[in-house]
């Protein structure tokens, strides 16, 4: 139980940190921020890598989780980069 309290602490602090960091984003960057954040949520890939594989069902689930998280990661970062490259100053 101790470990969950520690991790819960990390969770709360990270959310506060996120709120502080992003609270004043110019509206120009709303879409890239969303798609960049979306790519970060592909961090589920790390979770997918450590799943158990005792049964066939688990193996299938792990494989699918890896694949879908990878689509999220690669697609998200590439499209964000593509978008940001278009923004130009006068």
């Amino acid at each position: 139980m101790e470990i969950y309290i520690l991790l819960g602490f990390v969770l709360i602090l990270s959310i506060y940190l996120g709120l502080e960091l992003i609270s004043k984003v110019p509206s120009t960057l709303h879409t890239p921020l969303m798609s960049g954040a979306n790519a970060i949520s592909g961090i589920a890939l790390v979770g997918a890598l450590v799943l158990g594989s005792d049964t066939q069902l688990q193996q299938a689930l792990a494989f699918l989780a890896v694949m879908f998280a990878s689509i999220n990661v690669f697609g998200g970062y590439l499209v964000t980069n593509r978008m940001l490259k278009m923004f130009k100053k006068k």
């Binding site: 969770l11 960049g36 790519a39 949520s41 923004f87």
Partner: protein
Amino acid sequence: MSFFENISSIQNIIYIFSSILFISGIKMLGKEDTAVRGNFLSALAMFIAVSVTFINVINPILVLVGIGIGAIIGSLIALKVKMTSIPEMVALFNGFGGLATFFIAWSEFNSIPSNNFQYILVMITTYIGGVTFSGSVIAYGKLSETLKVEKTSIITKLFTTFFYISIIYLLYSIFITKIFSPGFDFYTILLILTLLGGVGFVIPIGGGDMPVVISLLNSFSGIAAAFAGLLLLNNVLIVAGSLVGASGLILTIIMAKAMNRSIGNILFVGYVSSASPSKSEETGEVKPINVSDAYLILENASSVLVIPGYGMAVAQAQHVVRELGELLEANGTEVRYGIHPVAGRMPGHMNVLLAEANVPYDVLVEPEDVNPSMDTVDVAVVIGANDVVNPSATEEPGSPIYGMPIIEVHNARTVFVLKRSMSSGFAGVQNPLFFKENTRMLFGDAKESIGGLVTEFKE
């Protein structure tokens, strides 16, 4: 569940390093000058976190195949997608992230969680991940306009009911674990209800409210990853997931504020309760204008403000709009673009379209910057926007959109409204702007009308 023991201290130290990179990355992503580098840093953080986890992988070849397939599909979509289709693509990627956490939770359920708290985490992670997935798929359908369901139809009501049942079932499943261990069928029902519930969550929400929903789903996908981190006792999942959850939440709040509505009102009420358009029926006639007369007025204008809306995206008019802007500038006119936060179908949608058309971002202005000096604007050109320039929001206390911050184009000297027909906006509210003394309607396809103006200028 015994993975924690396997993760060596070195791995955990590298996870901390990777978390720092994620934090710096998302911070830099919030500023124009550093955004590209910020995105790169966060990608680097991802690469490091994944690489260091790869050491533990039991079946590396299978995992590499999975990553490879995902990389190919993701890259193809990202490089091929048109800028006008960005909202639905973000919704789709978001759904895939949610689906991955849904599968993680499902797999962990089969690892026989060792205590009640783990059971509860499995249930919650399953639910958030599943709702993110099926909700995002519906959002994708709505944004790409392949899915059209009436808010009042029986299907909408059925799925909305499923949404409420799924929440009750989730609560039940959380509390019941304290009494006895749930069997397999018990969990299968949760899996199915979760997916149906996600559909029911998004299906009643209309197109104009999509910027809020898409931000919220973005937030959910991060929270789902953070919960998966709790479940797997993995720090980097918690940190990265929380950052995404926070950023999605901020965007959700910004969008809701820009509509002057609460998040609850947008998600569960919508505009349906205020459907009494007969009251605001405006008397008077609209004054149409043709392209050559519009050209004469624009040619003599010294300050022009362009207000784009979803209609510009639909007509794909952003390139001709930029061309017109350049010709006006060559003619000595100051050209700016007034961007309302909720114009379009996702936060910042208009900014991306104009950036694609090579409009520099420093000529884009927000409502509060441009409203005080609106009377110095000679011509305001409204392209496919409606509710964000509706003066009822400031003048008519009975209006459903009263109080919403708008771009007050009715205070400009002349207003051109480019519009296909006289239909009302997503709110179903009549727009008194069209009947104002200083408003001229330029009917027809926005791309053709602007194209006509461009030709006039070139001659």
